[in-house]
């Protein structure tokens, strides 16, 4: 499952057409990818050391993958706020 690739932001007064913006989150993920890979390598190393040391908990790599899963699960989240002067819509797609 992939993380959300686009964020749609709409802001504007209720009586006029809102200002819409599509933000390509894909670019942010591409920038963060080297950091994630680096952290994953460190996590694997730490897990290996903990496993060899006989520690019960050695799931940091799995924890990192689950965190990425949580990020991926945000796809489809929508927040709509309607106030007197401004409407704000945020959608993750």
């Amino acid at each position: 499952m992939l993380p959300p690739m686009l964020m749609h932001l709409r802001v504007g007064p209720p009586d006029r057409s809102p200002f819409g913006l599509w933000l390509p989150l894909l670019l942010a993920w591409l920038i963060l990818l080297p950091i994630v890979v680096l952290v994953a390598l460190i996590a694997i190393l730490v897990d290996l050391v903990l496993l060899l040391a006989g520690e019960r908990y050695h799931h940091y790599t799995l924890l990192l993958l689950r965190c990425l899963g949580v990020l991926a699960a945000t796809r489809g989240t929508e927040v709509r706020i309607h106030a007197d002067k401004t409407d704000v819509d945020i959608c993750f797609a």
Partner: protein, 149 residues
């Protein structure tokens, strides 16, 4: 009234499905048994076969709707996959951190041990959310509605 029929009508009453969807589900329910086949010339049902899996499908989104007293509205739609992923994540939190989380939760009046969550419990929890609906009416006219669909 059989159980499936009552469930469809309850979903309609709770606003979880539209009248049209309820009609299709009821049509499909009636067409399950050969004795209840629609009369010749009647409109064919849009849903073929047994609708039980459709009825038993897990909810997909958690809705939180807030209507303020001054006319402001907030509508948040959260995928339940996010809830599921979050709960699965809790089983992997290091024990030291989990102890602290459980302690803080207990201090806040929520004695839930997240380390004991199992995948089947999570599915059961999500399934139970289908029937859940929270309606809060404030004294100043504000309303909060939480439901899953």
């Amino acid at each position: 009234m059989n159980e499936d029929r009552a469930r469809i009508l309850n979903m309609l009453a709770a606003g979880k499905i539209t009248a049209e969807e309820a009609e299709h589900l009821l049509d499909a329910l009636e067409s399950r048994t050969p004795a209840d086949q629609p009369a010749p010339g009647s409109a064919p049902s849009m849903i073929k076969g047994d609708p039980t899996p459709l009825l038993n499908a897990l909810p997909k989104f958690l809705h939180v709707k807030v209507d303020g007293d001054a006319g402001e509205k907030v509508d948040v739609k959260v995928p339940l996959a996010l809830v599921r992923s979050g709960l699965k994540l809790t089983s992997l939190i290091p024990p030291q951190a989990m102890d602290q989380i459980n302690e803080q939760m207990a201090q806040s009046g929520m004695s839930i041990d997240f380390s004991n969550f199992k995948p089947e419990d999570i599915d059961e929890l999500i399934e139970a959310l289908r029937e859940m609906e929270v309606n809060v009416d404030g004294t100043k006219g504000e309303k909060v509605r939480v439901y899953a669909e």
